[in-house]
Structures are given as structure tokens and as C-alpha cells.
């Protein structure tokens, strides 16, 4: 049964926020929203570690939040932490200390997971209204940008510069220059100038902005802070930015009646939005005041709707994978053939592999990206594929899942998963099994298009009496495919404990 109330805590780089939601007549009602500043980012971004003073304060805050959650009879709280925690060298100790002192378990989201939540939340709110556009998320510790085409995310990139991080990094320069904003803009550009090339020729009609400073920007424009969404013209945005960028944080604080801490991160944040907005052809800035808490709240209270949203996001993941593969000149017909063969096999033996729809998605991505290493060098291309994939960013997939995909790609050809292989050895047992099973499938699928010539006109699969029968219909000779199949079925048979049979039928 779905929960009625849920409490979610977001440990950010500059504040700790808790929201309490209730599921009322299938609608989510926010009962509480509390926020206290705690600049964990100051510690992590400057000293690489979270100080003990901050841990003490964090525990104090979490204890008081726990008390408020208890006011609503909530005992289990979802606690998520982002960049400041993620990048702290002592994060494991801090998690343990927090657990011992407060009884609360902090989940540290990886960069991809964090942004995925944000993009999903945006998708949930805009309900498919964004066809072509740029979505920019500026957090305290990191920046996420994604390009949407025909309603699907095409490319996404996380950059480790957030508003607070940037103001921390550039703080020493600030005192020596009157044109701090120029430095901020140039610094941001060093990170993101390549993005322009990636989206050349695409129409980006919308610009969607979200992140920590959004509510503040809304306030500066006199927008109703209680609305989730607001829209302002690009000209108006730039006019305000041009005014603010020349002011010191103290001047901003006085002129706009906001705290100096907020004022400090405002210029970097507005600069990032400005630069990203310039990538698009959008004539307006659409701000969405959304938060991780809102999304987790939705996830906890509406698990079924969340599942639906998650599955809807599969298309975005595939779309991103295809665009990434395109960048590495992938052999699209081969990838499609592989995809089709692999999925046939996956679906046919679903009762024995014990894998789920999410694994099916990983298989799909693996098929699309498996040969990307050939872009680097044809020799040892599977190792190059591994390196490329494990360094990609695909919104919707976690780092852990990308690691799994990279391993599947690595073992799609001749290599076999082996515990003496470091990349395989470091996987969890569960993931080792996933890699072995999916690479066994992809190996068979790959064999069926060994020549990359898509000789099989039709393929049917039947699984009965512990035998997987693969019926192939072809016009041209498929001896190469048959040979490859015979070579690779051994591993498949070992992994699944079933026999395979290739049944050939030549057609005219």
C-alpha cells in the first residue's frame, strides 16, 4: 500500500532542506517545508573534506528535522545528499557518524542520479510540452545541461561547477578585479564552449532553467514565489543580469534586500543561465522552482506513477545513447540488428534469466554503444568501448549502470568475463551476474550479424524444453554467422544452463 505521508531531506551544498508531503485524494499536498543554511560546500570545495564542526551541526539539524517528522507520525525519512557530500573525501565516515548520532541513513546520489531526478521532475511537470530546448540545472555544486529534441533528451552533460563552487573557486580573484562577472563568464566558457558544437544546427526553442537560485531570480523579477513556473523574456533577463553583474555581493544584498550569502552565488548562477540560454534560440527564460525533495516525495507517495515515469524516460535514455553512438560513427544497421536479435533472445528466456525491464534497457543501450571503441582503434576496440561508455553521461542511468553497460560492451566479442579482469572484478556480485548474462545474450546477438551485413531477413526465437531455438531466414550465405554462433553459444549455455540450436532456412 502506498504511504500517506512522507518526509524527504535534501542535504545540499549550502543548505539542508526537508519537506513533508501527504497523499490526499491522489494529489500530493505539501505539509511542511523547512530549510536551514549549512555550507558543507565551503568545506568540500575548499578543503576536500567536511569538517567535524559541520558534522555536529548537520546532526543537530537532522535531529530537529526528525522531531518535526515525528509530529506527523513519520518515522522513516528519505535522506539524500548531493555534491558537497559526494565529493568529500571523508563522506563514508560522515555517513557513519550521522547514522550513529541520529539513527538516520544518508543516501549519496551520484551526479547522474541527481540530474536524472531533476529531468524526470521537469518532464513530470511540463508533461511533454517541451519539444526542442535546453534544460539547465544550476546547483550549488554542479551544473547539468541537457538538450531536448522532439520531446526527448538527446544529450546531457554534468559539469562540476555550481554557483557556490564557482564563487568559492573564484573568490580569491574577486578582490582584485572590478569585472568579476567577465572572469566568471570566461571561466564557465572554458567548461562549456564545446557544447555549442554538439548542438549545431538544432532548433532549441525553449530554455528551461531550474536550480537553487531560481526562486530568488523569480523574486527579483517580482514573480509570485509560490508558483512552480514563471516566464520572463530573454531581454528582461539579460537586462537584469547586466545590472547585477557589475555589483558586489554587498551591493546586491542591499539593493535587492537579500542576504549576502545568496547575493554571492547569484552572479555565477545567473551567468551560467545566461551562457546556456545563448546556446538556444529561445526568446524567453522559463524558470521551474523544483527540488529533489518534491521528486522523492512523489516517488515515495506514488510508486506506480513513478514507475510509469521511469519507463517513459527509457526513450530519453535510448535517444541519448544513439546520439552518443553517432558521435563515434557507429554502424547503425548493425547496432539495430544486434538490438533486435538480443531483445528476441532476452524476451524468449525471460522466465529463466531472472532479469527485469531495467536490465532490458541496459541491454538496449549496450547494443547501441557496443562498438563505439572502434572510433579510437579497431584493435582492442572492446576495451576502448569500455573506456568510452564508462566515461559517458546519460541522464537516466546511474554511474553504476554505465559501468555495467561498459562491461557488457567489453565482453560482447571474444573476451569472457573473468574475475582476474579488474573492471569485472570490482563489480558487485549482483552486477557481475548481470554483466555475464547480458554479455552472453549480446554475444549471440552479435554472432547473428557477425558480417555486419544484416544477412538475416527474419529471425524467430522459441524457448521450450530447455532449448533455445533460433530460426533464421536468409538469402545470402551465413556460414560466418554460424561459425561465430557456434563459438559463442558455449558461454551462453554455461551462463543460463540451457542448450541453443540455430535453425537455418534459406529463402529466395
Amino acid at each position: 500500500m502506498a504511504k500517506f505521508q512522507t518526509a524527504v531531506i535534501d542535504i545540499g551544498s549550502s543548505n539542508i532542506r526537508m519537506k513533508i508531503f501527504e497523499n490526499k485524494k491522489s494529489k500530493i499536498k505539501q505539509l511542511e517545508h523547512i530549510e536551514l543554511p549549512l555550507y558543507l560546500g565551503h568545506d568540500t570545495f575548499k578543503h576536500k573534506e567536511i569538517s567535524f564542526e559541520k558534522v555536529d551541526r548537520l546532526c543537530e539539524i537532522l535531529t530537529s528535522y526528525k522531531k518535526l517528522a515525528n509530529d506527523y507520525g513519520i518515522n522513516k525519512i528519505s535522506i539524500y545528499a548531493t555534491t558537497a557530500f559526494r565529493e568529500a573525501l571523508n563522506k563514508d565516515y560522515v555517513i557513519e557518524l550521522v547514522k550513529l548520532r541520529t539513527g538516520l541513513e544518508v543516501i549519496v546520489l551520484d551526479d547522474l542520479e541527481e540530474k536524472t531526478f531533476i529531468y524526470k521532475e521537469i518532464k513530470r511537470i511540463v508533461k511533454g510540452k517541451v519539444k526542442n530546448g535546453v534544460i539547465a540545472y544550476v546547483g550549488s555544486g554542479s551544473l547539468g545541461v541537457s538538450f531536448v529534441e522532439k520531446g526527448k533528451i538527446k544529450y546531457s552533460q554534468n559539469i562540476r561547477i555550481g554557483s557556490l563552487k564557482l564563487s568559492e573557486i573564484l573568490e580569491p580573484i574577486q578582490e582584485y578585479t572590478k569585472k568579476f562577472h567577465v572572469i566568471v563568464e570566461q571561466y564557465i566558457n572554458t567548461y562549456i564552449d564545446v557544447l555549442g558544437d554538439l548542438i549545431k544546427g538544432n532548433k532549441q526553442n525553449d530554455f528551461i532553467a531550474t536550480g537553487k537560485e531560481i526562486s530568488l531570480i523569480a523574486k527579483l523579477f517580482g514573480e509570485n514565489i509560490n508558483k512552480t513556473q514563471f516566464k520572463i523574456s530573454k531581454t528582461a533577463y539579460n537586462t537584469l543580469y547586466n545590472t547585477i553583474k557589475k555589483l558586489t555581493p554587498e551591493q546586491i544584498s542591499n539593493s535587492y534586500n537579500i542576504s549576502t550569502d545568496l547575493a554571492e552565488t547569484l552572479v555565477p548562477s545567473m551567468a551560467m543561465f545566461k551562457i546556456l540560454m545563448d546556446f538556444s534560440n529561445a526568446d524567453s527564460f522559463v524558470g521551474y522552482d523544483i527540488s529533489l525533495c518534491d521528486f522523492i516525495g512523489f516517488k515515495n507517495l506514488h510508486p506506480n506513477l513513478y514507475r510509469q515515469l521511469d519507463q517513459d524516460f527509457y526513450d530519453d535514455i535510448i535517444n541519448q545513447a544513439r546520439h552518443a553512438a553517432l558521435r563515434f560513427n557507429y554502424d547503425k544497421p548493425h547496432a539495430n540488428a544486434l538490438l533486435s536479435h538480443s531483445l528476441l533472445i532476452f524476451d524468449a528466456i525471460k522466465n529463466i534469466h531472472g532479469l527485469n525491464q531495467r536490465h532490458r534497457l541496459l541491454l538496449r543501450v549496450s547494443c547501441i554503444l557496443h562498438d563505439s571503441g572502434k572510433y579510437i582503434n579497431l584493435n582492442a576496440h572492446t576495451t576502448h568501448s569500455f573506456n568510452i561508455i564508462s566515461n559517458l553521461e546519460i541522464a537516466g542511468l546511474s554511474m553504476e549502470e554505465l559501468e555495467v553497460i561498459a562491461n557488457i560492451a567489453k565482453y560482447h566479442a571474444d573476451l569472457l568475463p573473468d574475475k582476474s579482469d579488474y573492471t569485472y572484478a570490482k563489480l558487485s556480485f549482483k552486477n557481475k551476474m548481470v554483466v555475464s548474462k547480458l554479455s552472453a545474450i549480446i554475444k549471440l546477438g552479435d554472432a547473428l550479424d557477425e558480417s555486419h551485413l544484416q544477412k538475416l531477413i527474419n529471425t524467430k526465437v522459441d524457448f521450450s524444453d530447455n532449448i533455445l531455438k533460433i530460426y533464421t531466414f536468409f538469402k545470402e550465405d551465413i556460414t560466418l554467422e554460424e561459425w561465430a554462433f557456434n563459438n559463442k553459444e558455449v558461454f551462453f549455455n554455461n551462463v543460463f544452463g540451457i542448450k541453443t540450436l540455430l535453425i537455418k532456412e534459406r529463402i529466395i
Binding site: 501527504e22 505539501q30 528535522y65 509530529d71
Partner: protein, 679 residues
Amino acid sequence: MKTFAYKNFINRELSWLEFNLRVLEETYDELNPLLEKLKFLAITASNLDEFFMVRVAGLKEQVKAHFFAKDISGLTSLDQIKKISDKTHFLITKQYHVYNKFLLPQLKNEDINIYTYNALVGLQKKYIDDYFEDIIFPILTPLAIDSSRPFPLLKNKAIYIAVSLDVAGENKTAFIQLPTVFPRIIKIPEGLNNYSYIFAEEIICKNLNKLFEGNKINSYTTFRITRSADLLFDEEGAEDLLIEIEKQIKQRKLGDLVRLEIQKGCSSLLKSFLLSSFPVKKEDVYYCDGPLDLSHLMSFATSFYQYDTLFYKHNIPINPLLGKDMFKEIASKDILLHLPYQSFVPIIALLQQASIDDGVLAIKQTLYRVSSDSPIIKALITAAKNDKQVTVLVELKARFDEENNITWARKLEEAGCHVIYGLPNLKIHSKTLLIVRKERAGIKRYMHFSTGNYNDKTAKLYTDISFFTTRESLANDISSFFNFLTGYTEKPIMKKLVTSPTHTRAFFEKKLDDEISNVKAGVKGHFIGVMNSLVDRKLIEKFYEASCAGVKIQLLVRGVCCLKPKVKNVSENISVISIVGRYLEHTRLYYFYNNNSPLVYLGSADLMPRNLDRRVEVLFPIEEPLLIKSILNIINMQLSDTTKARYLKSDGTYSYFKHRTNNSQQLLYDYYSNQETTD
């Protein structure tokens, strides 16, 4: 924003003295029963004590610090002290005039006789002499004053007798503190159930020879000193506010001297001794033509509870929610209660019900002044014992109530309540209650807001408006507000509530600007404000600006009002009335015409800088059209008061209306009692 010259404002302290004069007027008012008049006289005296301890003390501090900035009306602290002294001298003369010439004779007519010692005869005298020997004498401790010992530390507001003695040919002085262990006014039995009375100091003075046997008594007098009592301390440095306040209370008797009262007829020898002994200026010395400290008349008057006809007719508060399920009632509709015409009991009932209700998860409340044996506190303790999460924001700094506050705050803590002691530099003045209840359909939040404190005793004397609701938008705001107070969040997010110290001022400016714009656009502009005090210069200037633009402004300011109404080209459209009567007008209510969609806000904030900028206050909107209508009805009844209302003139003084026909307080009681059930 336009600014206005000093001459357009009334000094705050002088306006307060005007208020105390209006209270004093009640002692002359033949519409009031005799013992009520006596009570009013006592109130003027205790009011004056507090005024000296806080306000005059503050001005003297300023002088000491060489701070000579001008006030709203252009007066320096020195100017103000001088003018206060003049006006207070006038007030005190009036107090003793009414006491001697009106009240004593009227009491005599009712067979309540307060005698002087010399007027006692036969058995009366014997009884009193015996009383002195047996009860008073053993506890008297005369303090000899001479250069060989340090000058004694005299207690704030205590009454002393100074005695000039001839000791072996040498003139000496001694002080005797009037003990407080027996009544100030002592009963003399006169047969069965019949008494007459005498002041305790009168007995002592006439028996001084027994105290100073063998020495000649040259002369004697009573005197009383008042010390500064303002609680000034560094809250930032105070590790534990509770301990700090306890310390302050102990120190209170050591404050600077701000007033010396001496009984009229004091010998010149003693007078010059007293004046030379205390660091007072001529203007700080008041000669009283009668017993010092008339505040004692309060307990004296109330001791005649059996004399029904000499008090106001008993108005039993109406309880429209008697015996009802409070949760059910509040969930079905917004409810207003107008105290003291209507009862405070539903508020207690709600808390009592919540304390034992299975669905209630949490109770949060701000407490400012509560009664010493408060049913509210008891209900909160029960709730905590029943495993409800009880959070109480206690304001220890409620002036002169700190001792009481500390006692019950400790009791709450012991019961397991989460007690939070105020915020540094911000007094929590709001009166709010939130009950979180888990119901079948989910969480429901029940709220109570009020213009008055959670005090069952004052709820019978102060006029206040109470509001119960379960409106979601207010629930979110009040949760946020409590989270701010408990330190769970730094940025309370408010949609409907208007809160100090951050938003109230801007809210008034904005809403008054809207009225101004409406008038400029050819629509009616109208503001009505009901409050205790109007002091804030910027808002007064905003009222002037609105008045000049043509906005009609009607103000009901019970106490201090620094705004000058009816001044040409400044405040022609502003009228101010003050109602001083049986009940203390305590409501804060603000109405904006708002282009015919009225906005009504109630709350804890007066329009004083402290309420706008330095206190935690809450103004809450009334949105239910029927309730807005009944509030407008209340305001209209008050605005048409001609009996207890006085109107403020542009010279800063007040006058009664010519034909005193409507007494709004009585009319309101009649109005409610015609509607519903009583307690």
C-alpha cells in the same frame, strides 16, 4: 515618501499620560459603580508605577548617556522629562482630589469608613493599639540613618516611614519599611459583620513612641521610591536566557531611582533630609495628599465582593460552543469568538480535547502571558504525558511576568514538552496554536489565532478576537511560522499570514498605497484600524499621505496615539477615538476597503516600531464573508460609541462626545447574549 514636521505629531509619553487621565476620568464617571471607580483609581496608580519604571527610566538613561536626539514631536529627553513631570503632577493632584473629595465620602455613604487614627474611638482604638503590639510591632525593623553606616538599600515601590528623632539632643533620622505580610488596609471589627478600616502606616506612625522609646519624635512622613526596571541585557551573550532573567529579577530592586513620592504635610526638616539623601531632581518629587501607592485600593475594592450593587452587573461570557466537539465544529467552518463578551472556555476545551484525542500527533503553541494556575498549561502537560509532541514557545521577557513564566515553563519541561525560550532580541508576541491531527482522510491541522494572550483570567477583562480555522493555506503558513520559531528554518514562507519583524511594515505601506491609488483612480479609499497604540512615525506619515490623497481613515486607538487628527493639509480625513471602559480594549484589527473587496486582518501587532520591527507578531486574514460582515458590525458598534469613547483633538487632548448615549461594550454584550448560550 513625504515627511511631516514635528508639530504634526504627539509625544508618546504625553499621549500615554493622556490615556491614564482617561482611565482616571472613569473614577469620576457617575455611570460607573463606586467600587469600580476605586479600581480605576488603583489602575491609574499601578499604570503610573510601570510608566516611571520603564518609560521615564528610559528617558533618564538617555540623559545619562548624553543622548539628546529629538523624538517624533521634536522633544529631547530632557524636554520630555520636564513635560512628563508637569503632567504627572497634574494627574496626581487629580487622583488625590477624586480620592479625598469624591470616593471617600461616597464610600462613607455606603458605610465603608476609612479612618485616620485620631478619628478612632474607644474600642476601635484599643483594637488597633493591640493589633500594633501583637502583629505589627514584632516585625518592624527601624533602620537608623547616620554617617557611620552605609545608606540602606531601599526597595523599589515599597512604602517607608521616615522618622525624625531627637536622640540625646541630636537630630537623627530612621526609616521603617512598611511590612507587606499583613494587609495595607486593616479591618477594624465593629460588631457582627461590620467593619471599618485604617491604613497600616497610620497605625505605625501613631505608635512610633513605642518603637523609639525614650527618644523624642520630631516628625515623620511616609515616602516611596520608584526605580528603573527595564530589562536590558545582552541576550547574545546569555548562555541560558532562563538564568539571565532570574538574575535580572533579583537585580530589579537595584535600578536607578526615577521618582520619589512623599506624603503631603511632611516637615521641612524631613523633606530636606529626603531630598538630600536621594539623587533626585525637584521634578522627580511628588507630594501626595493622601495614602501613597493607591494601587492597593484594587485588592481593597475587590474584597467587598458581596456588595453586588457597588460593582458592574455580572456579565457572564457567552459560550456558543458549549458542550460541542471542538474538532468537528472547527473542521466544519471558521469560527470567531469575541472576548470577553464571548467565552474563553472553547480555547481551553480545544486544548483539553486535543490532549486526550487519539488522532492528535502534535501541539504547538506560543505563550506570552498565562495565568498562574493556567488550565492551558495543565492541558499541555496532559498532552505531553499522552505522548503528543508538544512544543511551546515561551516568551520569558513578557514584562513583569517573568517570575510567573519561569515557574510554569519548568513544569512544562518536566512533563516532557519541548519548551523553547524565545529568540534573542525578538520578543514573541504572537498568539497562535497549531494542532496536528491524523484523521481518516489524512493530516488535518487545527489552528487558533488570537489578538489576546492565552490567559483565562485576563480573557474576562480584555476585549480580544479569537479565530479558529482549518484553512490549508493558513496551516502551511503557521507551520512555517512555528518552524521559524523553533529554529527548524530560517526563511518562513508565508502566503497569507503577515508576520513581524519582516513583513508587517511593508504590508501596511503596500495596502495603504493601494487605497491611495484607488482614490486617485476615482474609487473610495477607506481604512479602519483598531489598536492599543499608534506610535510608528513612518506609518503615521503614510496615514497622513493617505489622508491628503483623500482616503478616509478611522482609528480606534485605546492608548498612546502619536498621530494628530484633523490637521489642515495633513490629517483632515483622519479621526481618532479611544474607548476606555469596563473592559480593556485590546483587539488589533485592520480593515482596508480595497476597492469594495474588504480585507480584514487581526493580530497581535500594534503600530509601534517594536511591533513592526523587533517582535515576532502575526496578523491573520479573515476570509469568510460572513465573518467579515460580523467584524464590520463590531467595528461599527465601536465607532458609534459615544459613552466610553473620547475623540482625540488636534492639540493632543481628548474629549467626551456631547450626547453620551451608546456604550459599545454593553451593547456588544447584549448583542451576543441575545444570540447564544452562556457558559
